[in-house]
Amino acid sequence: MDLGIKGKVALVTGGNKGIGKSAALELAREGCSVAITGRNEADLAAAEKEIKGLGVKALAIAADMEKAAEVTQAVNRIYEALGRIDILFNNAGHSKPCTPIGSTDEDWTAQLNIHLMACVRTCRLIVPKMIEQKWGRIINMSSMYGILPGSGVTDYNAAKAAVINYTQSLAMEYSRFGICANAICPGLIHTEIWDKFADILAQDLGKTRQDVLDAAAERASSVKRYARPEEVGKVVAFLASECASYITGCAIQVDGGAIAGIEIKMISDWISAK
């Protein structure tokens, strides 16, 4: 299966670990040069080395995508070093517990800033050049919670829903220039973010992290398992490819049937009752 993207240049934000790193490696395996951003310099250096090991150019930039000035600096550095950006995977993100009425304006602003505004800022800088190139792929990280909310992360749910809506606006306005914009909506992917979420729930419920992870996999996926980050990375590579050239404005679920199968908001209730 030739994805047809050899020689393209990709930017993966939050590409130093988890799903971002998996996607960066999949794109590198396809022959793309890959720039990654992240906050942890040790992780960045390790990821850069792995990408280079696949025989392509890699560029790791320490940057906090919550800060507009750092986004601009990072994007400028990529244009200077690699000349272009064909594929943009807006992946950086984080979350912490939030109920519908229990969080501050600052909490809400932080979630919208890292999930929605980071996409807006990278797109502002990169989309005009994609239009000139008449080719581009934008993949924005949403979540299954962007389609149906999960309990305990209200501001994250809302920010991820906004990412889908923003992606559809991008598709509506710029698809005619050969730019496909899609959102990706993972479910239970075994990354640090889920471990942290599981730890918080476990503490509340007097259970272990593994209890929570097992219960969630059993309850919140039709396939009864977590995905490995690379299972999302491969979908990102597909969406970046020529094979997906007639898909735009979509929210692609990579959730093991979570939304088809069950009410995801029930995870924590079910664990509590166990």
Binding site: R29, S175, E231, V232, K234, C243, I247, G257, A260
Partner: protein
Amino acid sequence: MKISFDNKNILVTGGARGLGEACARKLSKAGGSVAIADIDFDAACAAACRIKRAQAYRCDFGEPADIVKLHQQIRDDTQTGIDILINNAGIISYTKGLKGFDLEEWNRLIDVNLRGAFWTCREFAEDMQAKHYGKIINLSSMAARIGGIDVGIHYTVSKAGIIGLTRDLAKKLGPFGINVNAVAPGIMLTEPVKRHVAGREDDYISKIPLGRLGQPEDVANVILFLSSPLSDYITGCVLDVNGGMYMG
């Protein structure tokens, strides 16, 4: 990316022409052995001659007994049964208003497009359950998402039913290692659609954000993805392949 369908048996229903043939060709090129089942056996044979590692079968997907027979034949021929099922057989019907078709036409279309798809899953899921591996891809349509553009209401209803079928099967078959997804194509230039849109192409294109009508290849690529290990954690989903006409 090294994706190989070596040693995989793939059934493409309605595979003699159009989208079905494009899928059969693509999956065969990636190493798969393809069973092409179609009501038009001569056309299925002709397609099987054009495609490597392909075998033609006759089947009327509006007749459950035919589907059961097809399953037996394929099991006899392959020994291990089917690994990947592309449920593509269907009838397209253009709109004739609410009363422009009779009960017989309604029943025939629903029987082929919806009951036929389910009966095929019902039969061939057995092969997959035994191996704890399988991929089912059902063909829905953009009509199911936004209401039909030019197509008959019975067609729209049948394709909306495919989405419910897909989600329900994803739940029931997920624990057996079987992924079930649907693809919802927009306006794809197969022969009947080409005839239908002839002379009005620009009208349609003006409504498509990507600025072009779809090709069978566009859908075949997505079906290849859903048939492959690239999509192992995707199940119960509907992938819209429509150039941005409907954003789901």
